[in-house]
Amino acid sequence: MTGFLETMFSPGSADMILTIGTIVVKIAILIGIVLLHVAYAPYFERKVIGHMQVRMGPMRVGPHGLLQPIADGLKLFFKEDIIPAQADKSIFYISPVICLFTAMSTLAVIPIFGGFVIANINIGILFVLAMSSLGAYGIVMSGWSSNSKYAFLGGLRSSAQVISYEIAMGLSLVGVIIMSGSLNLTDIVAAQEAYPLKSFIIPQIIGFFVFCVAAMAETNRTPFDLPEAESELVAGYFTEYSGMRFALFFLAEYIGMLLMCAIAAICFLGGWNGPFEVPYIPFFWLLVKVYAFMFIYYWVRATVPRYRYDQLMSLGWKLMIPLALFNVVLTGTIKMLR
Amino acid sequence: MVELQWYLYLSAAVFTIGVFGFLTRRNIIFMFISIELMLNGVNISLVSFSHYLQDPRGQILAFFVITVAAAEAAIGLAIIISVFRNKETVYVDEMTETKG
């Protein structure tokens, strides 16, 4: 491929405007859809966990609390934006944006259904990993710049956690890469069509398990929610944030979750391929898989306690990474023998 | 089409800025950052050579440079930590242990 940029910017190309226009429209559609989903993901979470905990969840705003996300959004938007006096202002301003930016830009390589992807680049998985590793910056910088001990501890914990579990996540995806022979997410889905259930779930069960655990750790969700363990560190790295900046972190966290679910669905569960074609809704099966995955996230959150910091680290380094490595070796050997 | 020379000028500029930082900063962490700058400057030229000469070796070399940079950062920062633990300083002019 001639470089992505060169195609785009090649002089005299009549398609240039059209290409850029298509991309902009696609971005707008995707961001619209994702923001809507992200707004309702906390609502979904609160309802699911509420019913698991013998209570109702949000009920007041609108029928069954359906307008709750809008109310929350409005409230956060109009709240005062408090900045600690001793904070490092510039970094304090920019940290939530880093978090959101890394989460949002990953969306670009996620194929929603065959052909609908903003940037169909050949290093899709690498891009995802790169962006998720950059998310650590937003976290550690927000913790540092708040100039609060709780935030600082939370930031350090979180970045250490994200970095360690990123290795396990990357290694768990190697199995998928070996089997499909491509780093392109669209190609990975295409490669899965030949396998039982149109997915890698059976041959890559170990990788899938490691990925699920690493994804939970990567997005700082229970039982790995140490950075924001409210009983220890108040709220972790965003203790000092309020109003819209807090909302940005919130948004980034939920987009991150959505992304992890989408990547799990694409890399291990066959993406938008399902047992039968659903007419007019090509992304139906992806959506179902993503929501099933999200439900598991919430289910786990309602069920298990929280790990301690050192236990989390030893789980990551002593169990998850060796398991993922074993999976890589196993997959490689089988691929070679065939 | 951008000439190769321009990439090399950029690479030289980044490299020399790295040299300047390495020579003039007191703080050992900034010296390490300057080394990273120098390595990046070299990498730019390697990758651009690879592109213009249509030879993969430049990129392979850049790949190894990144590997070595990672190793160097790990070791170097570990040294900084252990020095800081003993001397409580990050200024090279205060580290006079090996002067004899």
Binding site: I49, T222, S231, R301, A302, P305, Y307, R308, Y309 | -
Partner: protein
């Protein structure tokens, strides 16, 4: 000089003030933690943020009117603290409550124990991250509060027991509801245990955390589940029975290792024992009055009697103006087994209607001061688990 400065500055950097406003300290406990990375090098509890001078207030009130103060000690299990107070005052005054009152008091203090332990379980689990247990436990605690409301009209600060008995008799409706609760409750306990008892993360977070040996526990003055977790079957309900505890059967569960998990197990077993005691009390509840015959000297007579009876009117007048007139001179210490440990009341009486000195030995205060021993050398996250297992209620720590 410079060396010293460096050290102090380095220490300042790593000092974390956990509390008094912190989601895990259950009130206004402040722990100043000196950290080395995530390890606690030194832990200094600071108490007193909730000090209201309950002991001093008690010395300025009659024995009867000091009773509601004890509600505010441990507002989580106020019934036990009322019982502790009236048992102590009865010993001072030499009053013997009737059998029915004794059984009712035993029953309600066991209900308070269940209620208190439920709150402990809820917050302890929430601190460690198990959110669902919190809501499950509060469901049952709500039920107990409803039962208290049915019994005496108040849910939290009950002030139900009286010197020489209890305020009013129990209704059959209340007993039926309580019986239903005791039938349901063991099933609910299983629910909690399904969630956390064998959960690997729970085990990892609690086993070997905050270990205290039997000897050290005794030396630190730990009581209640804190010492029973270390294998010492110290329980005042067995050692120095009060009320009707010598007439009901129950076991004193103990642990072996003295860690957070053992204390958790001890309290979970105490749920079952308390449930059993409540059932026995309902079954064995004897008929009869609920106030001692000489109680009018200490307790306000019913309002309608005051209107009709001269004696009652005189008692009422004297009680309100002077307090109980027959408090003999002397000292008395009486302790009961509160949900959190040994609750002792020490009175010095100078023969007047108010105590010359009232001293309350509250278990949480001792446990709070044992926190440095339990936490030093462990991780920050373990401090949270230990605060949970100590089951501190700041109302009684600071008094």
């Amino acid at each position: 000089m410079e060396q010293v400065d460096k050290e102090t500055s380095a220490r300042e950097e790593l000092t974390l003030s956990l509390g008094p406003q912190h989601p895990a300290t259950h009130g206004v406990l402040k722990l100043v933690l000196e950290l080395e990375g995530e390890t606690v090098a030194k832990c200094t509890p600071h108490v007193g943020y909730l000090h209201r001078g309950v002991e001093k207030l008690g010395e300025n009130r009659t024995y009867l009117s000091a009773l509601p103060l004890t509600d505010r000690l441990d507002y989580v299990a106020s019934m036990s603290y009322n019982v502790g107070y009236v048992v102590a005052v009865e010993r001072l005054l030499g009053v013997e409550p009737p059998e029915r009152a004794k059984f009712i008091r035993t029953m309600v203090s066991e209900m308070a124990r269940i209620s208190s332990h439920l709150l402990w379980l809820a917050t302890h689990a929430l601190d460690i991250g198990a959110m669902t247990v919190f809501l499950y436990a509060f469901r049952e605690r709500e039920w107990i509060n409803d039962l208290f409301e049915m019994l005496c009209g108040a849910r939290l600060t009950v002030s139900y027991p009286r010197i020489g008995g209890v305020r009013n008799d129990v209704s059959q409706e209340f007993l039926d509801s309580l019986w239903k609760f005791t039938e349901e409750f063991p099933g609910r306990l299983l629910e909690y245990e399904t969630l956390i008892d064998q959960n690997r993360i729970w085990l990892k977070r609690t086993i070997g955390i905050g270990v205290v040996s039997a000897e050290d526990a005794a030396n630190l003055g730990l009581t209640g589940p804190m010492i029973r977790g270390s294998g010492v079957p110290y329980d005042l309900r067995k050692f120095a029975p009060y009320d009707a505890y010598d007439q009901v059967e129950f076991d004193v569960p103990t642990g072996t290792n003295g860690d957070t998990y053992d204390r958790y197990r001890v309290r979970m077993e105490e749920f079952r024992q308390s449930n059993g005691i409540v059932r026995q009390c309902i079954e064995k509840l004897p008929p009869g009055p609920v106030m001692a015959p000489d109680a009018p000297k200490f307790t306000l007579p019913p309002k309608e009697k005051v209107m009709e009876d001269m004696e009652a009117l005189i008692h009422h007048f004297v009680l309100v103006t002077k307090g109980p007139i027959t408090a003999p001179e002397g000292e008395t210490y009486s302790a009961i087994e509160a949900p959190k440990g040994e609750l002792g009341f020490f009175f010095i009486s100078d023969g007047s209607g108010t105590p010359y000195r009232m001293r309350i030995r509250t278990p949480s205060y001792v446990h709070a001061l044992a926190l440095p021993y339990l936490t030093e050398g462990s991780f920050v996250a373990d401090v949270i688990a230990v605060i949970g297992t100590a089951d501190l209620v700041l109302g009684e720590v600071d008094r």
